[in-house]
């Protein structure tokens, strides 16, 4: 008689090592009282500009810091350092997303208790980062008016995994004939109930709403 192959049940998350590190990070963030926001978007949607402005405004009353993931350059980190907030670069090489271990490593020299907010800017990419938990409290997805209103429909997975959407470069909306209502409709179609905030990092429009939102989320965490 030929013995049958046997299937044994396993039930292990594929990213369990990442999830374990993310869990430890989340616990450390909570104990230190730091509110952590991760940022995802396509390249060129204005993550760094929004972050630069956000760090500057938050610094008036809080102690923010940022980790920025970039494939090869340290341009973003240099730019953000102008805000005077602690900023650290995570060079990902050819990797298309950040993983929790990279965040853990990058934080080694920092004392978390010295921070109120930590921003983690992921690599510009709307496909890859969605599966990796980084221990964040809030996942922010950016959509710039120049990208078009249908971006959420093209990348529903990442929009569905996010907690809040920020529409950037709103000062250019008229010039590029951005249909704000259609954008709102599309975001709500892929992620019902998601809070959407419109900003211009350049003119400062909407930045008060954004900062107020962050502060209230931190208070509620």
């Amino acid at each position: 008689m030929i013995a049958e192959p046997r299937i044994v049940e396993v039930r292990q998350n594929i990213l369990k090592h990442n999830d374990q590190i993310a869990r430890v990070l989340r616990q450390r963030f909570r104990e230190a009282g730091v509110f952590v926001v991760s940022m995802v978007s396509s390249p060129g949607s204005g993550k760094t500009a929004l972050l630069e402005k956000t760090l500057k405004l938050l610094r008036e009353n809080y102690r923010p810091a940022a980790l920025v993931g970039d494939l090869a350059t340290d341009n973003d980190a240099v730019r953000l350092a102008r805000s005077q907030a602690p900023v650290k670069q995570i060079v990902t090489g050819t990797l298309c997303h950040l993983e929790a271990a990279m965040v853990q490593h990058a934080l080694e020299e920092w004392t978390l208790a010295d921070l109120d907010f930590l921003f983690i800017e992921n690599v510009g990419n709307l496909v890859c980062p969605s599966s990796w938990d980084l221990g964040e409290d809030l996942r922010l997805v950016l959509l710039s008016v120049t990208e078009g209103e249908d971006k959420p429909l093209k990348y529903p997975t990442i929009f569905n995994s996010a907690d809040v959407a920020v529409v950037t470069k709103i000062d250019l909306a008229e010039a590029v004939e951005f249909d704000s209502e259609a954008a709102q409709r599309n975001i709500q179609a892929v992620r019902p109930g998601m809070r959407v905030i419109q900003v211009s990092s350049k003119t400062g429009q909407g930045m008060d709403d954004w900062i107020e939102f962050l502060v209230s989320q931190r208070r509620g965490a």
Partner: protein, 135 residues
């Protein structure tokens, strides 16, 4: 070119290219998980790894199959298959008060009554569900 054993050791090119694709990271994690599990069944060859892959997992099954073929090289899983079960999205509909499917990922509402869906019950799976051992 990757035919002989010695050739295989020198053959690395597309690895860096494919690393741009997150499916390779996932494939390497699958091998890590399967290696740990395999230790518990020492002596038995693993013929297949069974996965559950949710429609919202952000992982494309075709790309994952290709990535797995690369990742398994020079590991104990060289001739091992990957059996992927795709898991559809299931939500809890607040109006129907029961489990429902959604219209589509682009139209995330109850497939019966069109109520927008916020509570995802199923579809985010990224899980090794089983190992097929040789007799």
């Amino acid at each position: 070119m990757a035919g002989s054993a010695s050739g295989k050791q020198l053959w690395r090119p597309s690895y860096t290219l494919v690393r741009r694709m997150h499916e390779l990271s996932i494939a390497m994690s699958i091998i890590d998980v399967a290696e740990e599990e395999a230790e518990r069944h020492c002596g038995r060859r693993i013929e297949a790894i069974h996965l559950k892959l949710g429609a919202l997992s952000g992982v494309v099954s075709g790309a994952l199959q290709s990535a797995f073929e690369l990742a398994r090289e020079q590991t104990m899983f060289e001739s091992c298959r990957l059996v992927i079960e795709e898991i559809p999205i299931v939500v809890f509909c607040s109006k129907c008060q029961t489990e429902r499917s959604v219209r589509s990922p682009q139209w995330f509402c109850c497939a019966e009554c069109d109520t927008p869906a916020t509570q995802v019950l199923q579809g985010r799976e990224l899980q090794v569900s089983g190992l097929e051992l040789s007799a």
